[in-house]
């Protein structure tokens, strides 16, 4: 097989968006049709680059005219020796040059040959979300049962989920070239299942353990869940830089928690802490039933906290 030089157009994130094989030992790149590779980038000259094989391996890249400088990193060049990993920039286009000698990674072993059936999985997830949601609406519904109540809330949930998934699919398409709708949909559905279970559990435990704080501070878990879901969505777009993404999302979730927590911690905002008092059937009671003696003794301790609040307020004024 004749020698071929491959030119790859890459995105800013290093993903290949186009790949051109050029037989021979030299090639020209530019905007005019006299070139071997024609680029539709207005910032690229009609004749921009001239590439030849270097005797010592790699390629010699030369600017084809005065207008046609190129850059490696931030450094402008007129002539340079490059290898298969060097990314060149001409105009707004990033590209790299490789040939048959460029090594590729060893084959990834496929674990079995079962066919991934995303729509089958998705249907299961959708059924799970719809069931959980319907049951939670039903259990909280003490008014005259009406189909519209179920349909409306289900439609809102479905609309919200679709909007969320569509947003991620668009990001995906922009940054990685593929929408991956099914992937993002399955992530969102798993998140919805987790959300519904989490809310039911936090309310249930708050009642069972007679600890209102579990319900009051349940939003902390919801922010963490949101951060985790965003992380999985981002990883689906591109697996690059997981640490940076995780760090950004941790900051995001922490900010959300801080914003929602600040009025609770700010004792001077008396509108902040509305007591959450979830109720479940008596059979779900787990906490010990205290005698009135013990219960009222425990309430005595609140007085010290209130007095401390009053003192702190007086000091602040």
């Amino acid at each position: 097989m004749a020698e071929v030089i491959w030119v790859e157009i890459v995105t800013r994130h290093g993903q290949v968006s186009a790949r051109f094989p050029c037989p021979g030992s030299e090639l020209r790149i530019g905007r005019s049709y006299r070139n071997d590779i024609v680029l539709d980038d207005p910032a690229v000259a009609p004749e921009h680059l001239y590439v030849t094989r270097a005797e010592e391996g790699g390629f010699l890249v030369e600017a084809a005219g005065d207008a046609g400088a190129f850059a490696i990193g931030r450094e402008a060049r007129n002539r340079s020796l490059v290898d298969g990993d060097t990314v060149l920039r001409i105009g707004h286009t990033l590209l790299r040059i490789r040939d048959a000698s460029y090594p590729v990674a060893p084959v990834a072993i496929v674990q079995g040959f079962a066919v991934y059936r995303p729509w089958f999985v998705l249907a299961g997830l959708i059924a799970a979300v719809a069931t959980l949601h319907g049951v939670s609406v039903w259990l909280g519904d003490f008014i005259e049962p009406r189909a519209s109540r179920y349909l409306t809330s289900t439609a809102l949930l479905a609309g919200g989920t679709l909007f969320w998934v569509a947003l991620w699919a668009v990001f995906s398409r922009i940054f990685s070239g593929a929408a991956r709708f099914a992937r993002h949909l399955s992530i969102a559905l798993v998140a919805a299942v987790a959300y519904l279970i989490y809310v039911a559990l936090s309310n249930g435990l708050a009642f069972s353990l007679a600890t209102g704080a579990i319900a009051t501070y349940a939003f902390v878990g919801l922010w963490l869940l949101l951060g985790a879901v965003c992380f999985v969505h981002l990883q689906a777009i591109s697996p690059a830089r997981p640490v940076v993404k995780a760090a950004i999302l941790i900051v995001f979730a922490a900010s959300g928690i801080a914003v929602q927590l600040s009025p609770v911690l700010d004792q001077r905002n008396v509108f902040a802490i509305e007591p959450v008092h979830p109720l479940l059937p008596p059979a779900f009671r787990l906490a010990r039933v205290q005698t009135a003696d013990d219960f009222f003794t425990r309430l005595d301790t609140l007085k010290d906290k209130l007095d401390a609040d009053r003192t702190a307020d007086a000091a602040a004024r």
Binding site: F142, I143, R268, P281, A292, D309
Partner: protein
């Protein structure tokens, strides 16, 4: 206790808040020796107008308008009335007329105007927040003054004519004719029921018998009523006057502490009366819950049976609240006790749906405005509890919330909600809210309340 009148121009809104609902009642026009006046109502009735004409003529020089003004700019913030009771310039008015000054003596000043238009400074000699009275001294007083009626309230008869005076809505001193209708029933605070038109600005003015002797002090009218007005019995003003004359006037800086002391004392009496009054058992399905036996609690019940769509659980609610409000500031009234029971019985709800219904019923309701100004943030605790004595009552899920008064040490608001936990399809939700109470009293009161809860297993 504030008179609301939509017809009033906006400039009277402040007057409404501060000086609106109070009217004075009878004063002892010392002019006992005035034969025509004495004869008028009882023996040989003259045309009513001539009595009022005479009384007002006698009283004109002894009536005052009190203005609270901003110390910095001298602009008025509220208006009320007052009346002279000694020959050395001591006058009686309502606490709520001077409350801005009591709470913020650095921000406000008190001034008076006579009917003749003379203006002067006022010194606050004392106040009685429980009876809504205050004693002030004029810097340049007229000699003339009202006398108090020497009769006891029992000696007055319903239907006696009374004449209330003051400066309503800042449009000039006026006299209003009305009738004495005894003491207000079902009220913790003793008030004379005066059937006459009291208006904002008349607070602190006198209401007098036909002989000119002061029977009471204008204090309030009932929102939504018609000519239903209230007077503070003059006896409380006599007592406050005697006390104020025996003591040095309080320093402005000590006013707020004195106010806190008076509120605490008044509330301690209120809660002692509540405890002494005891509870009776009110039946709600299988539950027997506590309702106060005291006649100053008024209960109203309601059912959801008529609701459309048809409710899936029957809920009957009885809400009892005490007529024991205590005016402290324009945006702070304390003293009301609320006890509410809701009995819910499911007709076709499952256990979860019934619990959701109970959760929706059980809301804490704090009273009062300007919460951040007066209260710390509330702190709550919840738990399952049952009477210490075995089998005394059902287990309940209880939520206890409390907040402290920022300005008054050792006073708290407490609200408790409990839901019985012994049945799947029936429950009793009880709510008890207490205002301006010491923490220990709150615990003792609520405990007494809960220990009265009984059940039929």
């Amino acid at each position: 206790m504030i008179v609301g009148n939509m017809v009033f121009a906006p400039r009277f809104v402040l007057v409404l808040l501060l000086a609106v609902a109070l009217l004075c009642r009878g004063e002892p026009a010392a002019a006992q020796g005035n034969p025509p006046v004495r004869e008028t109502p009882r023996a040989a009735p003259l045309p009513v107008s001539s009595t009022a004409e005479h009384i007002f003529e006698e009283a004109r020089g002894k009536l005052l308008q009190i203005r609270t003004e901003l110390a910095a700019s001298g602009h008025q913030t509220s208006l009320g009335s007052a009346f002279l009771v000694t020959d050395n310039g001591i006058a009686i008015t309502n606490y709520h007329v001077v409350s801005q000054y009591v709470l913020e003596p650095n921000l406000y000043r008190l001034h008076y105007f006579t009917a003749a238009g003379e203006r002067g400074d006022l010194q606050l000699l004392g106040f009685d927040v429980a009876d809504d009275l205050a004693v002030v001294r004029l810097d340049n007083p007229p000699k003339d003054h009202f006398n108090f009626d020497a009769r006891k309230l029992e000696e007055l008869t319903k239907g006696e004519r009374l004449y209330a005076m003051g400066n309503p809505l800042d449009i000039g001193f006026a006299i209003v004719e009305g009738t004495y209708n005894g003491l207000v029933e079902r009220s913790y605070t003793p008030r004379i029921h005066f059937s006459g038109a009291l208006n904002p600005g008349m607070s602190g003015g006198p209401a007098v018998a036909p002989d000119g002797a002061v029977i009471g002090v204008n204090v309030a009218t009932r929102l939504g009523g018609s000519l239903v007005s209230f007077l503070v019995p003059a006896g409380y003003a006599v007592a406050l006057l005697a006390e104020a004359q025996q003591h040095e006037p309080p320093a402005p800086s000590a006013l707020r502490a004195e106010l806190g002391r008076q509120i605490a004392a008044r509330q301690a009496t209120l809660y002692a009366a509540l405890a002494a009054g005891g509870y009776r058992g009110a039946h709600f399905g299988p539950y027997i819950a506590a309702e106060s036996k005291l006649d100053w609690f008024t209960c109203w019940s309601q059912t959801n049976a008529e609701q459309v769509p048809k409710p899936r659980a029957a809920v009957e609610t009885t809400n009892c609240s005490s007529d024991s409000d205590l005016f402290v500031a324009d945006d702070l009234s304390v003293g009301r006790l609320t006890i509410a029971h809701s009995y819910a019985r499911s007709t076709d709800l499952n256990a979860f749906q019934f619990a959701a219904l109970l959760q929706q019923q059980d809301r804490l309701a704090w009273n009062g405005f300007a919460r951040e100004k007066w209260y710390t943030a509330q702190r709550c605790d919840q738990g399952f509890t049952v009477a210490t004595e075995p089998d005394q009552g059902p287990p309940v899920h209880a939520l206890w919330c409390a907040r402290a008064y920022k300005s008054f040490d050792a006073l708290y608001d407490v609200a408790v909600t409990s839901v019985t936990e012994d049945r799947k399809a029936e429950a009793l939700i009880s709510r008890f809210s207490l205002q301006a109470v010491s923490y220990e009293t709150a615990i003792a009161t609520i405990r007494q309340f809960f220990e009265a809860l009984r059940w039929q297993k």
